[in-house]
C-alpha cells in the first residue's frame, strides 16, 4: 500500500518536472526555427547590445529592435549632437524580440523606452492602449505628414486618436519575374513591356497559359504569395473595425480564394512551401516564372540565386499591397518619453530614412525620399541595371490602409491551409465552407 502511494507521488512530481522542462526547450527551439521565417533581414544571433553615448549621460534611453536595421551606427550622429543622451540598443531575432516585449508589457516592468513592433504583430497590442504612450501627446501630429498615410494609419487605433508607433520601413509588393522564362515562352521580357502586358489578373492568367504551354513552367511558386497579392487589393479583409469576422458577409476574400483556386487547378501555381529549401532552389533553377512579393524579398532572391541574371521587377497586376515593416513604439513604462520621441523623430526623418535605405536597404516610409537622387538615380545590377526602387515606390504610393485586427494571422493560416488542400485536390467550394468553420472555431473563444 505504502509503496503504491509513494510511487504515485514520484510519478506526479516527475510529470510536473518533465512538463516544465519540456516546455522550455520547445519554446527556445521554436524561436530558433521561426527566426529565419518572417523577414528577410533577420539575424539568428543572440542579443546584440550596443551602447552609445557617455556613461554619465543625463538621459539614458533603451531601444529594443530586431533584424538588420543599422540604426545603432546611424544614431552615432544624434549622440554627437545631443551629448546629454545615451542610448542602449538591444537587437535580437524577431520571434524572441516580440516574446520579450510581450512579457515585459504584460508583467508591467522591464520594457525599454523604445520598442520596435512588426506590422503583423502590432494589431495584437492595440487593445492595450494603457501600456503605451500616445505619440499624439508628444507632438506626433507635427511629423504625420512626413509619412505615407496608410503606413501612419497602421500605427493608429481605429478611431485615429491614439498613435502607437512611427513607421520605420515598409514592404510594398511587386511582381518579380524571370525574363528568360518569359522570353522562352515568346512573351515580351523588358520590365516596361511586361507591365504593359500584365495589367490585370486576366492578363496574368493568359500569360500563364502561354508560359505553361511553351515552357512547362508554372506562373508562380505557391498559393500563399498569389493569394496575398489578390487579398491585398481588397478594400476589406477578414475583420471589420469592430473586429467582427466578415469573411461571410463580404465577397472580397472569398473571391481571392476562388480566383487563386482556379489558377491552382489550371496548373499555374506550384506548391513550394514558403521559406523551404526547395522554394529557394527554384528561384535559381527557374521553378516558377513570377514571384509576387514585397521589396525586401529582393534580398532573399539574391541570396538564393546569387548567379541568376534573369530576375526583373514589374509592378503587380492591378496594384500592390504591403507585406512587412515595423513601428517604433514607446511603452508607458518609459521614464523619458519626450527624449525618446525626439530621437525617434530624428531617426525616422526623411534624411535618416534615406541613409537607412542606402546602408541596409530599409524601404522608406517617408515618400519624400522617393524624390531624392538616391531613388531617381538608383540602379541595381542584379536586376539588369533596372531602377527597381522606383517600381517599389510606385507600389508604396498606391497602397491603402485596411483594418486587420488581432486574430488576422489565425484566419490567414486557416485560409492558406485551405488553399494547400485545394492544391492537393479538394473542391474549392467545399474547402471554403470548411475554412469558414475552422475560422469560426478558432476565433470564437
Amino acid at each position: 500500500m505504502m509503496k503504491k502511494s509513494s510511487m504515485l507521488t514520484v510519478l506526479t512530481a516527475m510529470a510536473f518536472l518533465t512538463a516544465a522542462c519540456g516546455g522550455n526547450e520547445a519554446n527556445n527551439e521554436e524561436a530558433q526555427a521561426d527566426g529565419g521565417n518572417n523577414n528577410a533581414n533577420v539575424d539568428n544571433e543572440d542579443a546584440d547590445v550596443t551602447d552609445l553615448g557617455a556613461e554619465d549621460a543625463e538621459v539614458e534611453l533603451s531601444f529594443w529592435l530586431f533584424g538588420a536595421t543599422g540604426y545603432p551606427e546611424l544614431a552615432e550622429e544624434y549622440i554627437e549632437e545631443n551629448p546629454e543622451v545615451s542610448i542602449t540598443f538591444q537587437e535580437i531575432d524577431m520571434e524572441d524580440h516580440h516574446n520579450n516585449l510581450f512579457t515585459a508589457l504584460s508583467a508591467g516592468s522591464g520594457a525599454p523606452d523604445m520598442a520596435a513592433i512588426e506590422v503583423s504583430e502590432i494589431d495584437g497590442y492595440k487593445n492595450a492602449e494603457d501600456r503605451f504612450v500616445n505619440l499624439y501627446d508628444l507632438g506626433a501630429e507635427d511629423v504625420e505628414d512626413d509619412f505615407l498615410d496608410w503606413a501612419w494609419e497602421v500605427g493608429s487605433n481605429v478611431e485615429g486618436d491614439f498613435q502607437f508607433g512611427l513607421p520605420t520601413d515598409i514592404g510594398p509588393t511587386v511582381m518579380f519575374y524571370r525574363a528568360d522564362i518569359f522570353e522562352e515562352a515568346g512573351l515580351p521580357s523588358e520590365p516596361e513591356e511586361v507591365e504593359e502586358l500584365l495589367q490585370t489578373w486576366e492578363d496574368f492568367e493568359e500569360a500563364g497559359d502561354t508560359v505553361l504551354e511553351e515552357t512547362g513552367t508554372p506562373m508562380t511558386g505557391n498559393p500563399e504569395t498569389l493569394f496575398n497579392a489578390k487579398r491585398d487589393q481588397a478594400p476589406e479583409h477578414y475583420f471589420n473595425e469592430e473586429d467582427e469576422l466578415i469573411l461571410d458577409s463580404t465577397p472580397y476574400v472569398e473571391e481571392a480564394f476562388m480566383d487563386t483556386s482556379a489558377l491552382i487547378e489550371q496548373g499555374h501555381v506550384d506548391n513550394y512551401g514558403m521559406w523551404t529549401p526547395e522554394w529557394g532552389g527554384a528561384m535559381d533553377d527557374g521553378g516558377y516564372a513570377t514571384l509576387l512579393a514585397p521589396a525586401w524579398m529582393q534580398g532573399v532572391v539574391k541570396d538564393n540565386a546569387p548567379d541568376q541574371e534573369n530576375w526583373r521587377v514589374a509592378s503587380m497586376p492591378e496594384g500592390g499591397g504591403n507585406w512587412g515593416g515595423s513601428y517604433i513604439t514607446i511603452p508607458d513604462q518609459s521614464e523619458h518619453p519626450e527624449e525618446a520621441f525626439a530621437f525617434m523623430e530624428w531617426l525616422l526623418a526623411p534624411e535618416q530614412q534615406q541613409k537607412a535605405f542606402e546602408n541596409m536597404g530599409l524601404f522608406p516610409s517617408a515618400p519624400e525620399v522617393y524624390e531624392m537622387e538616391t531613388f531617381t538615380e538608383f540602379s541595381d545590377d542584379y536586376f539588369g541595371g533596372q531602377n527597381t526602387a522606383e517600381v517599389f515606390a510606385e507600389s508604396a504610393l498606391e497602397n491603402e490602409h485596411v483594418h486587420k485586427g488581432p486574430q488576422y494571422g489565425d484566419v490567414n493560416t486557416e485560409i492558406l491551409d485551405g488553399l494547400d488542400n485545394v492544391y492537393d485536390g479538394a473542391d474549392p467550394e467545399e474547402e471554403w465552407e470548411d475554412v469558414l468553420t475552422r475560422v469560426e472555431q478558432r476565433t470564437s473563444r
Partner: protein, 332 residues
C-alpha cells in the same frame, strides 16, 4: 531524483544531530541560548537546500499554480482577466481540433516509441554481444542523433520527406513505381514522417540505457543457460528482459511522457506552425497561447494534458510491471 537527494541529506543531518546532542549533554551547561544546537542544525540544513527550492518555487511551482488559476479566466496577456468558470474547458472539449490533436498525439506516440524501444533493445543486445568489433565506435554512432537539436532534425527530415517528386523518400518510392506522397499534408504521411524523426532521434538514447543495464547482468547467468542448452531467443526472453526490467520501466515511462509532449517536430515539419494531420496536443496548446493569445484555453489544455500524462504513465507502469511475471518457471 530530488526526493532521494533530500532523503540522504535528512538522514545525514539526523546522525549529526545525535552526535551533537550527546556532546552537549555530557558537560551539562545550564546556560540557555536563543536557539538550541539542534534548531541551528536544522536551520542550516534547510538553508543548504533552500537555493533549489527557492528557484523552483519561483520558476516551477508558481507558473504551475498560476496556470491552474488561469484556466478559469479569459485573458489575452495584456488586458483585464475575466472569470469564466469552466467555460475554457467547455470550449476546448467542443473543439474538434482538440480531439484531433489528442488522437494524433497518441497515434504518433505509439508509432514513434513502441517500435523504437524494441529496436533499441535489439541494438543494445547487438552492441553488448561479443561478436561486434569497434564497440565504442558503434556506441558513439548510435548515440549521436540524441545530441542534435530537434529543430535541425525537423529541417533535415523536411528535406528527406519533401512533397516534391524529387524528394529523397519520394524518388526512392518512385523506383518501385509508387506515386509521390504529400508528406507534410496527408493524414498518414505526416504521421509517418514525424514518427520517423522521433524514432531516429531517441533510439540511440534508449539503446545506451539498455546497454548499461545489460552490462550489469552477470555473465554466469548466460553461461549457465548455455550449458542447459538455451537458445539465443530463450536467453533474451528469460534472462535479458527480466533482468532489464527497471531499465525498461524507466524508458517506457520517459518515452510515454516524451511522446505526449511532441511539439517541435510537427510545428516545423508542416510549416506555418502545423496542420490538422500532425498537430499534437502541446502544439494545440502552444497555438492557443502564443499564436492567438488565448491564455485561458491554453491553460485549460495544459491541465487536461497534465491529467492525461498521469493516467498514461500509471497505466504503462502497471503494464510494464508485469514483464517477466508470466512464463517464468521455477521462480517464487
Amino acid at each position: 531524483m530530488s526526493n532521494t537527494l533530500r532523503k540522504e541529506i535528512n538522514t545525514g543531518a539526523e546522525e549529526h544531530d545525535g552526535e551533537t546532542e550527546n556532546n552537549v549533554k555530557k558537560p551539562k551547561k545550564p546556560k540557555k541560548r536563543l536557539f538550541s544546537q539542534k534548531q541551528k542544525d536544522m536551520a542550516s540544513g534547510y538553508l543548504f537546500i533552500s537555493p533549489f527550492y527557492l528557484l523552483f518555487a519561483v520558476f516551477g511551482v508558481f507558473p504551475i499554480l498560476f496556470s491552474f488559476y488561469l484556466a478559469f479566466f479569459r485573458w489575452d496577456g495584456l488586458g483585464e482577466m475575466e472569470f469564466v468558470g469552466l467555460n475554457n474547458f467547455n470550449i476546448i472539449f467542443n473543439d474538434p481540433l482538440f480531439w484531433k490533436s489528442l488522437y494524433n498525439t497518441i497515434i504518433i506516440g505509439l508509432m514513434g516509441t513502441a517500435p523504437q524501444l524494441i529496436a533499441a533493445l535489439l541494438l543494445a543486445f547487438a552492441l553488448n554481444s561479443v561478436l561486434i568489433k569497434y564497440k565504442s565506435v558503434f556506441r558513439l554512432a548510435v548515440f549521436l542523433p540524441y545530441v542534435t537539436s530537434i529543430v535541425a532534425v525537423a529541417i533535415i527530415f523536411s528535406v528527406i520527406f519533401s512533397n516534391q517528386e524529387s524528394g529523397l523518400v519520394n524518388s526512392f518510392l518512385g523506383v518501385f513505381g509508387i506515386d509521390p506522397i504529400t508528406w507534410t499534408r496527408s493524414e498518414w504521411g505526416a504521421k509517418v514522417a514525424i514518427s520517423a524523426m522521433i524514432f531516429w532521434r531517441w533510439v540511440g538514447y534508449n539503446t545506451i540505457i539498455y546497454l548499461a543495464g545489460m552490462q550489469a547482468i552477470p555473465n554466469d547467468l548466460y553461461e549457465a543457460a548455455k550449458i542447459d542448452g538455451a537458445t539465443l531467443r530463450q536467453q533474451i526472453w528469460h534472462i535479458t528482459i527480466p533482468m532489464l526490467k527497471p531499465f525498461i520501466i524507466f524508458t517506457v515511462f520517459t518515452a510515454t511522457i516524451g511522446a505526449l509532449q511532441i511539439f517541435a517536430e510537427p510545428h516545423i515539419f508542416q510549416g506555418r506552425g502545423g496542420r490538422p494531420e500532425g498537430i499534437s496536443i502541446v502544439l494545440y496548446l502552444y497555438r492557443e497561447a502564443f499564436g492567438s493569445n488565448f491564455f485561458g484555453t491554453a491553460s485549460a489544455t495544459a491541465i487536461v494534458l497534465f491529467f492525461i500524462i498521469i493516467v498514461f504513465s500509471a497505466a504503462n507502469l502497471l503494464l510494464v510491471n508485469r514483464i517477466g511475471r508470466s512464463g517464468k518457471v521455477g521462480e517464487k
